[in-house]
Symmetry: C2
Subunit: 242 residues, 2 copies
């Protein structure tokens, strides 16, 4: 069944937002009486029945909204957007499918194009949420400088965190542990992944001072987006998470 995203989901008859209506009417060519799955991305799910469908839009009747009251806590990815936005958008799509709870784009010293495409990136997250049938949409935060991360998100300081980097040794920082081992017993955690060219030593030191355990993701050199996807898939493995 097709899923529509409708942030203000409640019982009654509603006009679908223009983009959702266009998809239902022009792409899927759905008719009156057909059913759609409605989500608000905040734990609400309902069955909707198309009431009117024409060139100007579509309306839907919602009878009963089911609510999953508690947002599941899981993995937060703190990631430097890649130079090519398509690679970052893949990461957003895959991270959503793999159950990541929050995404925090950060600019680090080696980040190249620093443009927060928040609106475009939100659409990727919404589309993936609909496709994979999640009830809670991951939180996509506004991009910020890495140096402002803990001011912007003070809750990170009280959550287990890790920083993935590719350096053999960083002064005054412990040797990297295996992410796979480290995350196994954490019910929720955050992981920082650097840009092409890695975090700088100072950035790893900064993250470590704020509680991040240095980790590696295996022997091969992973691209930024591969590191994010792999870490998310491996995080599904912790006890009781599947």
């Amino acid at each position: 069944m097709h899923t529509c995203h409708f942030p203000a989901l409640s019982e009654g008859v509603h006009a679908l937002p223009p983009e959702e209506a266009a998809h239902v009417v022009r792409v899927l060519r759905m008719r009156e009486g057909e059913k759609v799955r409605m989500i608000d991305g905040k734990g609400g799910v309902a069955l909707g029945v198309l009431m009117s469908v024409d060139k100007r839009g579509a309306s839907v009747e919602v009878s009963e909204v089911q609510r999953e009251a508690i947002r599941p806590s899981g993995l937060t990815l703190v990631v430097s957007p890649t130079k090519h936005t398509d690679r970052f958008e893949w990461l957003l799509e895959k991270a959503t499918e793999l159950g990541v709870d929050a995404l925090m784009p950060v600019w680090s010293s080696r980040s190249e194009r620093r443009i927060d495409k928040h609106e475009r990136w939100s659409k990727v997250v919404i589309a993936a949420t609909k496709q994979c049938q999640r009830v809670w949409m991951p939180m996509l935060h506004q991009a910020c400088a890495l140096s402002k991360l803990f001011e912007m998100h003070p809750t990170l300081s009280s959550t287990s965190g890790a920083v993935a980097h590719c350096m053999e040794d960083v002064q005054s920082v412990p040797t990297r542990e295996s992410w796979i081992e480290w995350q196994m017993d954490k019910p929720c955690a955050w992981l920082a992944i650097g840009p092409e060219g890695d975090f700088s030593e100072e950035e790893v030191q900064f993250l470590h001072e704020h509680g991040a355990t240095p980790v590696h993701l295996g022997e091969l050199r992973l691209r930024t987006e591969t590191a994010g996807i792999a870490a998310a898939a491996q995080f599904m493995q912790g006890s009781g998470r599947q």
Copy 2:
């Protein structure tokens, strides 16, 4: 250091193949005397020194070839190529980065465009092998019909195998186990992943008759390429694999 792929790697002076030479000369603008890492994708690695660099090509002197004699055995992905080749190419790239050992494209009953872009796909695998610093390149096989899989690849029958599908029940086939749990104690294994729209019941039965254990990859509905990437990342987790 830049990596060049050179299938017939040996000691001596060699002309680089045209594509590798073009990259070294025009993209990286490297000069005589600069060093490159040379791999043959079959366990051989060497340091090369550029001897001549001009518009027509480049030659390189290889002094000593190190050999990793035994191909590591690991995960074989049997995957239906996606309708849009870019999604399948992402899977090839990421699977290579995540250490997958072999890739077998198969056409199943719900496969849409059945075009084996072997040459193009090989280039993706070579580029990813160079980027992630693997010594052994994954084997990318020619595409075949799912019904011919075990004739084409008889060794699959003697290796632990699994089939990921999204159906609650398939007649005469056991209930799905968790891939994460199932693969944990397997030093090598193969996993079959269906196309958009999943394998048919008959295909799951066919794979099960040939030894595949039915598995799931969690609660969310993953795209074909996400399933492949997630399965590969999770396979890194088995004992002694990292």
